[in-house]
Amino acid sequence: MRKLINAPADVVSDALRGLAAAHPSLKVDPGNGTVIRGDAPRSGKVALVSGGGSGHEPLHAGFVGHGMLDAACCGEVFTSPVPDQIIAATMAVDGGAGVLHLVKNYTGDVMNFQMAAELAEDEDIEVVSVVVDDDVAVEDSTFTAGRRGTGATLFAEKIAGALAEEGAPLADVAAVAREVNERSRSFGVALSSCTVPAAGTPTFELGEDEMELGIGIHGEPGRERVRVGTAAQIVDATLSAIDADMPLSGSEVLVLVNGMGGTPLIEQYVAYAAAAEWLEAHGATVVRRLVGPYVTSLEMAGCMISVCRVTPELIRLWDAPVETPGLRWGR
């Protein structure tokens, strides 16, 4: 294992010390794994708290700031945060207007946020939880834990964050987060595994000419393993899977071509070119786009594409100013 680390057990706290040093506007507690907006709590503003395992940077800590999250809770690598962290963050950012918990649909995240929400109730803090489950790679059925939450988490955090910044009430902020989730789908492809620092060996092995279709964001195996294809073929497989689940023809869409951490930007743009052409050919109009590593899986190579069928109101909120370490425009 060759990694830029001091000790496997210290990766998350060391990274948070770096985040704090690089972004003095944030209140970072490396020991507790919480990252909080410097100006929180803001009286009368609905607060947004998200979190999850570390290893997906800039998600979530990199999205704390004006127009997006009020706090992020950083678990160990690929391990959800614990209720203590979540309740600490929730209490630190509550400005009396309630707190929205944005949770990716992974069993551990859902359970830990659920326990934290119960603790918040004891503190008389109103908490509403919205679970993001946008990944079409896994079948939705009553017999499974449902779909995973992946790239659409970024859409939900940005758009709900913009509405909260305008002073909207908790019910409206939660509703727009749910709307974004319902209108979004994602699908990912891995071209290599990643290595969790504490484990020290790759999570899975891929042959030289293999790729894993339908991965999650934790290096967990995907839907199926196939021969690796060209960027155009990979994008076709990805967008076809999304289109089969949520027809895109005739829609205005927001697109995220997301690098998984180990794929250079030049390849992400190759993928975006293919995605833009595919969408145009299939009758969808790309009105906003984002290309880059935003929801990563350590150094895993590959990409994930997320699509949101937007409305004029969602576009307006997407365009609203945002100032965070990982996303910044209009301010």
Binding site: F78, S80, V82, T107, G108, M111, Q114, M115, A145, E220
Partner: protein
């Protein structure tokens, strides 16, 4: 430990014994998890039970021992295993109330409460390829042994054996809960890491409830 009951020291010994077994097996559990999950189960549980051992209070009844251990696990483990194991221990601890000594029947009720806690939180049933596939048969075997007149040590042994068998039975199953469920049919052919760690916890219980009455010893032998 007296012949047919366990005191606070015995429950502390159970937590310590579990921590030892989890630590010794952490790498194996992590490898099982890498096959169908994200490869951190052993690491997380090791961290959680180490924290539980550090949190063990002195001079409190058995219920408080398990509640403290459960709280520590929830606080330090994360993932799904933190809430599930933490809730299981807290529910078991609550079931004891303030009793200073826990007999075979009371321990059976507590194990039943722990199973209920896990199912309330995780919504899993037998056959979903989760820790419930080890815990549910363990509780049933414990109760059956109790009904047959076994003492605490015998009941605990029956539970440990049923848990191990239940864990092995997860190999051909297709996961319907947890991260492995996202793999669909590709989850088949793998031992479930959560069921496997549950078997360790119950083996540790059988260890400390061993017939020689020496808490924390390895008299009952390896799994």
């Amino acid at each position: 430990m007296s012949a047919g009951s366990m005191d606070a020291g015995d429950f502390a010994a159970w937590i310590r014994r579990t921590a030892e077994r989890v630590s010794a097996d952490a790498e194996r559990l992590t490898r099982l998890d890498a096959a169908i999950g994200d490869g951190d189960h052993g690491l997380n549980l090791d961290r959680g039970f180490r924290a539980a051992v550090e949190a063990l209070p002195g001079d409190v009844p058995p219920g408080a021992v398990l509640i403290a251990a459960g709280r520590a696990i929830v606080s330090k483990t994360g993932g799904a295993s933190g809430p599930l194991y933490g809730t299981a221990l807290r529910r078991a601890g609550k079931a004891f109330g303030d009793a200073a000594d826990v007999d075979a029947a009371a321990l059976g009720s507590a194990l039943r409460a722990a199973l209920q806690g896990v199912q309330d939180l995780g919504k899993a049933v037998e056959g979903d390829k989760t820790m419930v596939d080890a815990l549910a048969p363990a509780v049933a075997a414990y109760e059956a042994a109790l009904a047959d007149g076994s003492g605490l040590a015998g009941c605990a042994r029956a539970a440990a054996e049923a848990a191990a068998k239940g864990a092995d039975g997860t190999v051909p199953m297709r996961a319907r809960k947890g991260r492995a469920s996202y793999l669909g049919e590709r989850s088949e052919g793998h031992l479930d890491p959560g069921a496997s760690s549950t078997a360790l916890v119950l083996r540790a219980l059988a260890d400390v409830a061993g017939s020689d009455g020496v808490a924390g010893s390895d008299a009952a032998g390896e799994g």
